[in-house]
Symmetry: C2
Subunit: 363 residues, 2 copies
């Protein structure tokens, strides 16, 4: 069979019984799926969200509206199936795998979790690097092995999710370290930090950046991740790097996971490999209201050399992979348009007069 | 059991294990479902899209990029399951019922369609009223009976869809007649009408309005629908009026269906009943790129006394109920959040310090 190209995929979608372009954002999505799976009959049958949980040393600095204990409490909630991600996965026919990569509590009794704890939380980045080189390598591998398990289980989509009190702070620091953008642009309210508490959170990130340096100062993306990242951030970066070796969709959630994917993309860019194979797998699910998300998306778009727009804009800011799981039906829909819709020729429908642009409904 | 109020529903959602408001637009949606179904455990199990097909006399004036024959051809495509709505309904676990309310062709051999033809297309509104009073009454009843069938079949959601060459012209004329807004604001590209053809389409609508009058000139919404509407527009209005008698979600698609719902809402407003019961059923699915959609949404919001925002913004403009069907998973998700998520108390998760506003992910 000849390879599927952008041109053949575009021609296939344009032959379907609908005005050209009338399915909007689903159409480029369908084309990307056809290219990734190298077939004009792409399928999204099986999807899994991998939720990585970890604690953060920086939480000692009072950067979250919730106590640190909530990370472990929410892991128990995941294990019992009561959290948003569990509920949303059930209504969207999607698997969930919850992985303890670094929660500061003994969760070993919870049999429905995956146990891969590297450390009881990252170190406080105001005093030292969040992770040692060895811890970073282990956390990257935890993410990579989650993707390999998902691929072995026949997943077409691997979605990223996370849980970790303090992780909007770590993600903001990492985003600033990766892009050179000021903390004013990357630090947001997280779970609900406003006013003086938000000023304090920005100050914490500013101090962490002063201590640890950035890519602007010629520090590698990997070293940024080690110094100001965290265990679940590293696991999601490892998952992203591994995903580039398989024809799977890597479905990004909100702010935290987008920053992790960005770190992985820079790591790939800094290697012989480059980032283009990786970026072909990346699908953005939703636009979070967390202030730094737009910065992370722009940076990823700049690497991709094309505009990136999340499919959903629902003003969500929960994490856990909740935006990713809600996007699975749209991926299934996009694949099905390409695979299952009749063409004008097959259906005996008259083509219109016009070309490239049309509108709503009717015809 | 005490009735479910806005306050009890809001309290229920705020008790779930997530930062307050972190599920964004899904939360008000969950609250509306709880109020409509009068339970704190709402369910969206069964959904059906009713697709009403009809031709338009105004299509003689060359207002569409597609020949009139396409209406019948697409009805055959629906019957064989090859159109976008069929494909999307399958991936979203949703029923489709396609109803011939006025296609200008003999479709009686197609057993998978519902046959309720009132007339072989509406009349040309540049010469006379699109429908007689009797035809309007019949078309309204076709829509009403579709909703009754859906309710008897146990549907929690009835979505609106349509197919009809020329129907963006009729919908634009109806929207202008209902709201008094100029054709420049209501007439758009439809399936792909640009430049001189678009100017011609606007001119056709302007002439139709001059002939038939508007609500501004004290004409009833029903009379506007009769004079410048069409058979599928009337059927969707009839479906909307009937939906107000049942505790179902009425899921609106794009431009055409929103205009039909608006006509029904004004009809209810002009009757002893008022429009509030009806408007409680109305859920907007997606924002179409057709120019007049925003006008129709604003008018509906003004009647509702609250902002209305479609859940999806995917730059779609296909009709057929394609936006509605893509929204069904989001309704299921919203219901499940309210029904199935654990509370902080149930899950033993510590509550945060803060109140009303938070951000993405982490915590």
């Amino acid at each position: 069979e000849p390879p599927v190209t952008e041109t053949t995929a575009q021609r296939a979608i344009d032959g379907k019984t609908k005005p050209l372009g009338a399915l909007g954002a689903l159409e480029p999505c369908a084309i990307r799926l056809a290219l990734l799976q190298q077939t004009l009959a792409p399928r999204i049958d099986h999807a899994r969200i991998c939720v990585f949980g970890a604690d953060h040393g920086i939480a000692e600095e009072g950067v979250s509206a919730y106590p640190r204990a909530v990370t472990a409490e929410m892991m128990r909630n995941f294990a019992r199936g009561g959290a948003a991600i569990n509920v949303l996965a059930r209504t969207n026919d999607t698997d969930v795998e919850v992985i303890d990569v670094g929660v500061d509590a003994d969760l070993s009794a919870l049999s429905s979790l995956r146990h891969a704890k590297v450390r009881h939380g990252s170190r406080n980045m105001l005093r030292e690097a969040a992770l040692s080189e060895d811890e970073l390598a282990q956390a990257l591998e935890v993410g990579a092995s989650a993707v390999r398990r998902a691929v072995r289980a026949g997943m077409d989509v691997v979605g990223l999710g996370e849980m970790g009190i303090g992780n909007t702070t770590a993600a903001a620091a990492l985003l600033s370290a990766l892009t050179g953008r000021a903390p004013e642009l990357t630090v947001g309210a997280g779970t609900g930090v406003h006013g003086e508490a938000l000023t304090h959170k920005r100050d914490v990130v500013t101090r962490a950046l002063a201590l640890h340096g950035s890519r602007r100062a010629a520090q590698s993306a990997r070293e940024c991740l080690r110094r100001v990242g965290g265990l679940e951030l590293a696991a999601m970066a490892g998952a992203t790097l591994e995903a580039s070796r398989h024809p799977v969709v890597l479905l990004v959630d909100g702010f935290i996971s987008t920053v992790s994917v960005l770190a992985a993309a820079y790591m790939a860019e800094e290697s012989a490999e480059g980032s283009s194979t990786l970026l072909r797998r990346v699908f953005l699910s939703h636009r979070s209201t967390e202030v730094g998300h737009v910065i992370a998306i722009e940076a990823l778009a700049a690497l991709s050399g094309r505009a990136l727009r999340p499919l959903l804009e629902l003003d969500m800011r929960l994490g856990e992979g909740s935006g990713a799981v809600l996007t699975v039906p749209l991926l299934r829909a996009a694949a099905a348009i390409m695979s299952d819709m009749a063409t004008f020729a097959e259906a005996g429908v008259s083509a219109g007069e016009q070309a490239p642009s049309h509108e709503d409904s009717g015809r």
